[in-house]
Symmetry: C2
Subunit: 389 residues, 2 copies
């Protein structure tokens, strides 16, 4: 019995491309747990009998000063692991502040993910190991009891002239009710794709928890791909279109596709309350720009408008006219958020000022920190309860 | 403009946990393409200025003999990359036979994925870089023109007393038609989960292509999690139940849950032709065992039965009785497949013999090769066109 099991394991390991050394290690070793999260500390482990140095670096390691093109910046430093007689490297750290961190090992100078940690996130082309530290701040980032479904949906975009993919979250209970739901259109930033908000943003978990606690209205959440040349995330290997979306004549084409292609698809294929009072739009960075543009180009279409870590950049001679149009059309919530060390904070301040100057009621939600997923998760967790109320 | 872009990139890189060295490299380097697939060759590249050796190992590197607990076995060997003056390591190989391969780099002894390759697969706890070589054998593994949707669905399992996740594929056109569809229940093996068939098995692409070419009937495909203690893949970090499914009193509980929990959920929530003629069950390895058990325990329930890389293991004193029950209930297809070097080939031969001995019409589809996803993709591509006809 045990022999058969080991044979299966060995076959699996070989089939998966383990090399001879790995396989020998695999057959001999005890299970290695990493990260091991305790009450007040966390231990990371990495098996590398032949390595000379193993370090860890991530969102929780002390920052170091580094000279860059933009002057001295704080970047995450690294900490040394120590090796035991079996070649197992480890480090135990005080549990960092509750947050979702990514981290890597650096083995003799080479950056490696934690091979014992199945919890990973993808940002564009990078896969990174995740440490999720429990606490009040992060409680909605863990799985709720009542979980909504997530659909990977292909739709035609006549506006962008390609078939494209988006992710659609349906709240717990959607399948068992006849109810119609409001919809949040949630947009990612540069370098991201339709998976960004669910992978790095923990959107499903955050909405599940907020809805389960009665803090947010049950809602559908639509996460499209904001790169207008892409059919889908580059993980699909699908070709990209060669339209030049920097050309002024193609400006806002993606925003048009949200209104003309995506909203109609959702309102046809999901049980949706299809009116402006039940339509919200939010987005971070580039997606914040899309959010602002959608509000300006289609005033009255979205009654809830939440740009995150974005504002007014460069010259926008028609901004007053646009904001007056939006003011005239009306809206229920304009919720602008930004971190006070974000490199786009100044642009957000400009938008805040322009909204005030034009007499548009709004919230300017300023937090510590910069242009980070740590902030964007907090923002989603904060504005979602304000929607559709 | 360029400065702002670089600042964004640098901020992103820092936020993602890049260390100082990486960041410097990042700011200075040209784009590195890996793998670069040409007409007749493929080049892999890895930037590691300080490394002493960089090797590549995977399904396409020549095998080496290795002593294991079970005698000498062939395992994938490695090939050396060479370094240029900028510290960029590379190797160009003749394009291997069309297949989907996984591979890793070994940098000074440490196994690393290809950081330039966004195409990855997860098998249980391992993430691996993928090389998909085009050709006749693999043409259905690439994205089709007309793609079906994929749903991550949570359902209650009264049988297993937990809420669980499954993946549900709906064929292209499902949303725009009023048609009802047949259903394939597709089961994974040991070490896998509800994501295995879509990640390693390329199920969505294979079914999309077969349906687009008119070779397979448009069908819904349901991929549950076959580990009865699990609510979902371990990537969700959800707790596992502590029921002992090795206890004989709990035998076949997962199979019961397919029939009592999953089939009713699907037939309630999807447009399904809810009769045995439009129900197929297939599975690999452990899932092949589940397939055989479902056919034996619920004769007449599934008219299409496809166990892959599995057969009769150990003593099964009631096998003749079970097979006679299945024969009496009737079925349209019994399609058993196995590789001739699979460590379970003998068990498949036993099942083939028992089916013949009991007068059950069936196909025994024997291929080269072993207990591998290379075979399971071929099997799906081969039996899916036989279903519901």
């Amino acid at each position: 019995m045990k022999k058969t099991f080991l044979l299966v394991v060995a076959s699996l390991a070989i089939m998966l491309g383990a090399n001879a050394q790995e396989l020998t290690n695999f057959m001999n070793r005890e299970p290695i747990v990493s990260p091991e999260i305790g009450e007040s500390q966390v231990t990371f482990r990495f098996l590398a009998p032949k390595a000379d140095t193993v370090k860890i670096t991530g969102g929780f390691t002390p920052t170091v000063k580094m000279k860059t093109l933009f002057g001295e910046m704080d970047v995450p430093g690294s900490l040394d692991l120590t090796k035991d007689e079996k070649g197992l490297w480890s480090i135990t750290l005080p549990l960092p502040e509750p947050e979702l961190y990514t981290y890597s090992f650096i083995v003799d100078g080479t950056t490696v993910n934690d091979p014992r940690n199945t919890f990973m996130q993808r940002d564009g082309s990078r896969y990174l190991s995740v440490l999720l530290v429990p606490g009040e701040k992060t409680e909605n980032y863990f799985e709720a009891e009542k979980r909504g479904n997530l659909h990977q949906v292909w739709y035609d975009s006549p506006t962008l002239k390609i078939n494209r993919r988006m992710f659609v979250y349906t709240p717990y209970g959607y399948e068992n009710s006849n109810k119609s739901y409001p919809v949040l259109y949630l947009l990612h930033g540069g370098g991201g794709d339709e998976d960004a908000w669910t992978s790095m943003g923990r959107t499903r978990q955050i909405l599940d928890n907020l809805i389960e606690k009665g803090l947010a209205e049950p809602m559908i959440c639509v996460m499209p791909n904001g790169n207008p040349n892409q059919m889908a995330a580059q993980t699909t290997q699908l070709p990209v279109s060669d339209v030049d979306y920097r050309d002024p004549s193609n400006r806002n084409n993606y925003v048009h596709s949200i209104v003309k292609d995506i909203v109609p698809y959702i309102e046809k294929n999901y049980r949706v309350i299809a009116d402006p009072d039940h339509r919200a739009i939010a987005g971070l960075s580039m997606g914040g720009g899309h959010t602002i543009a959608a509000a300006n180009e289609y005033p009255g279409m979205f009654q809830y408008i939440c740009p995150l870590s974005m504002g007014i950049r460069g010259e926008q001679p028609d901004i007053d006219e646009k904001l007056q149009g939006l003011k005239k059309a009306g809206y229920k919530l304009y919720w602008l958020a930004c971190g006070n060390t974000d490199f786009l904070y100044e642009s957000a301040q400009k938008l805040d000022a322009k909204l005030t100057e034009n007499g548009l009621e709004h919230t300017f939600y300023v937090t510590e920190g910069g242009h980070t997923w740590a902030n964007w998760r907090v923002y989603l967790n904060t504005f979602a309860p304000l929607l559709f109320k």
